[in-house]
């Protein structure tokens, strides 16, 4: 089958989990001999050549095409200069907008020229890029007839998917990796929500990364349940990582690793830490990462008077991330809302037992983990204490967890996806 796929980023140039998931999915589809035309706003040239990549920045738009005009008309409302950066907290937002202002080319000129240089970032002119990306999607769908189905990842590429469907008449699969409710809690951005909703309703089928996300799609976006399938994420490499990196501190280490934002529930980790430290002096908590709640967490740790047992590492990258997993005795992911959440699987690869919140998609695939409600700091503290002290459980988790991991392959996910494609096509015809 030949799939026209719209993404927003692709490794190695990624700023979130979306790019990694697309990579895994494309890899899995290639394994099953599917042909992928993968469109991204901006290609860097160093992507692994596993698909027929299309750089949206290279596509010239033919404005004489009548059908485009109606698409464009529907999109112009997105052009309202919107300071909207969906994946970022206020501080990161500032960084990104500063960047966007400096990086910005002249809007009017670039909009009406036949080509458009996408930044491919989550910048200030994100909405403009999303709209423009939709036009590019239409153009590609018109130029190429060599695909049978369209697949769009998250709201950023939904308008492109919709446009491509309108032009080609081919069925559309909308893939939801995260919803606006995961990113922003209850204060959703209406424009983003509307795009998400339009994408899901225009799609012939919707794919969610977890049951949790599927429920959100049904309840909050009003999509009929029979139209939504769950396709859990997988890991690129399920092998156990044997690290030689040695821990230098005498205490046992309990780790939080991720963006320090509302969505990730860092404050529950801090409160649970206090409870554990009060009972057990031989433990050290580590919060690795950065984000708009970092300073508030530091304040709270100081206020609780646990700062000699609770360290902050700042943003970690590369080897340091592996080292952090390797020296952790317990890994905690207390996310308030996590469509999937790949990091606990990374912890399992390092033989580190994990505690995850029930409000995460990964809880649906990982059996050998302790699952708690994110807000239940007593249960979290109990679980941490148990994993630190009762070796039986942690040993069991280590053994069984690595077995479980081997089942989470992108090939399996891709095989299911192919079935979804086939079903969608058969319904269409």
């Amino acid at each position: 089958m030949r799939v026209l796929m719209f993404g927003w980023e692709f490794p190695p140039h990624i700023s979130g989990g979306l790019g990694t998931a697309c990579y895994g999915l494309v890899k899995g589809l290639t394994y099953h001999n599917q042909d992928i035309i993968f469109v991204v706003p901006k290609l860097w040239g160093d992507e692994e050549p596993m698909a027929d990549f299309v750089n949206a920045s290279d596509v010239s738009i033919d404005y004489r095409e009548k059908k485009f005009k109606s698409i464009w008309k529907n999109l112009t409302y997105l052009e309202v200069s919107s300071f909207l950066v969906p994946y970022l907290g206020p501080e990161e937002y500032k960084k990104f907008t500063d960047y966007a202002i400096h990086d910005r080319t002249d809007v009017d000129e670039s909009i009406f020229s036949t080509k458009y240089e996408f930044s491919g970032k989550y910048g200030k002119n994100l909405m403009e890029e999303v709209s423009r990306y939709a036009l590019t999607g239409a153009q590609i769908a018109r130029d190429r007839s060599d695909f049978e189905i369209i697949h769009a990842h998250d709201w950023l590429s939904f308008p492109a998917g919709i446009a491509a469907k309108e032009i080609s008449g081919k069925p559309l699969v909308a893939h939801v990796h995260a919803t606006e409710f995961d990113r922003s809690g209850e204060t959703v951005n209406q424009i983003v929500y509307d795009i998400e909703r339009a994408g899901m309703h225009a799609a012939d089928h919707v794919v969610a990364v977890s049951q949790l996300t599927r429920n959100t799609i049904i309840k909050k976006y009003g999509v009929p349940a029979h139209k939504v399938s769950v396709l859990h994420n997988a890991v690129l490499d399920a092998s156990i990582i044997q690290s030689n990196f040695q821990k230098k501190v005498p205490e046992k280490i309990v780790t939080f690793l991720g963006r320090i934002t509302f969505q990730k529930g860092p404050e529950y980790f801090v409160e649970a830490a206090k409870k554990v430290i009060d009972r057990d002096p031989n433990v050290r908590f580590v919060m690795a990462g950065s984000g708009d709640l970092l300073n508030r967490m530091i304040d709270r740790v100081a206020e609780l008077r646990i700062a000699t047992k609770f360290n902050f590492t700042g943003f970690l990258k590369g080897k340091d991330v592996d080292h952090m997993y390797a020296i952790s005795d317990v890994y905690v992911m207390p996310s308030v809302s996590e469509p999937f959440g790949i990091s606990p699987l990374e912890a399992v690869r390092h033989n580190t037992p994990v505690i995850i919140s029930k409000q995460s998609g990964v809880a649906e695939v990982l059996t050998n983990a302790i699952k708690i409600d994110f807000w239940d700091i007593d249960a979290m503290a109990d679980a941490i204490f148990a994993l630190l002290h009762y070796n039986g459980i942690s040993r069991m988790f280590k053994e069984l967890g690595s077995e479980e991991l081997k089942k989470l392959k992108w090939e399996h996910v891709a095989a299911k996806l192919v079935t979804v494609y086939e079903k969608t096509l058969s319904q269409k015809s």
């Binding site: 821990k247 230098k248 501190v249 005498p250 050290r284 580590v286 690795a288 970092l294 300073n295 530091i298 304040d299 740790v301 100081a302 206020e303 008077r305 700062a307 000699t308 047992k309 360290n311 902050f312 590492t313 700042g314 340091d320 080292h323």
Partner: protein, 401 residues
Amino acid sequence: MRTICFYFQVHQPFRLKPYRFFDIGEDHHYWDDFSNRSIMRKVAQKCYLPMNALLLDLIHQYNGGFKVSFSISGTFMDQMQAYAPDVLESFQKLVATGHVELLNETFSHSLASLKSKDEFKNLVYQHQSKIKELFNGYTPKVFRNTELIYSDQIGAMVAELGYEGMLTEGAKHILGWKSPNYVYVNSIEPKLKILLKNFRLSDDIAFRFGNKAWDDFPLTTDKFVNWINAIPKEEETLNLFMDYETFGEHQWAETGIFEFMKSLPEAVFSKTDFGFSTPSEVISKIPPVGKIHVPIPISWADEERDLTAWLGNDLQDEAFDRLYDLEKLVNTIDDEEIKRDWKYLQTSDHFYYMCTKFFSDGDIHSYFSPYDSPYDAFINYMNVLSDFMIRLKEKSNLVSI
């Protein structure tokens, strides 16, 4: 004769290097040798060397009629020995004239006076012996606590150690209608004389000198001497206390600060009835007028003249309390490096960097801080402290075996 009393605070902290979580338990060297050396060298060239030379000339020129006093912190003395022997030599020359008084403080410019009497004494003795060692057996008689921090209790503690006098801030809220231009005594131990900083005239030089937006810019010696003459006749001492780095570092040479100081003594001698004295001369010559009551500690910092530059927010209080939790354990361990690190970690600057008073005095705080934010300062300090605690535990286990 009425008198001006100059006192300069000379201090550099041992700044911490960026100390990562992964360093805990492994890397026991905490100090940013590179930046400590380069800052010392930079300030030596801009301030210490030229200003010491200028003062030495003035002392010779007026045959001892012009005199000053210094409190040189122990960390500064350690840094001079390591990075700036030329600066040390120039201070030694000044002290050798006999017209320069050295004051005592805690070795590491610490906040120990607020936490532990034992540690406070300990650091005072260490400072004493360091001065003796570097300045030909010199023994200070007057005390100056870190950043002029003072309270009735701290004064009593200092009196107990045998000092005759102590310096502090002439803070508005403790003086009320009273003038800083008299000698006072401690309210618990009246034998301890108290000299108060005249913050208006001191800060005219230290903070406002080069400020072009200031109504009185530029400050000339004539203008300054007029202000001195405006002091009521019965007020006998004018205490001008400031950071030594005022000269050439906070106020750049281009502002004319060196020329101002060079010509100030001449203007004072020719146009006023003031002379110059050191703190111990002031307290022996001028009789005290009464007790000064300071139940709650004051300092010379910020608009509030309180302790909030160093203590009070959760970051500072946590770091400070956790540090002094270790005092007993440290004292059981006989290890040179542990003792040194314990001293250097107590330096008040580390807590100053954690101050979150962004909107009132934040400018001045960020100028003096090597960190991007108080949070960074806290994280770094606590990482170091975590390692220090691990070392202490290891050493004390060895001791008990």
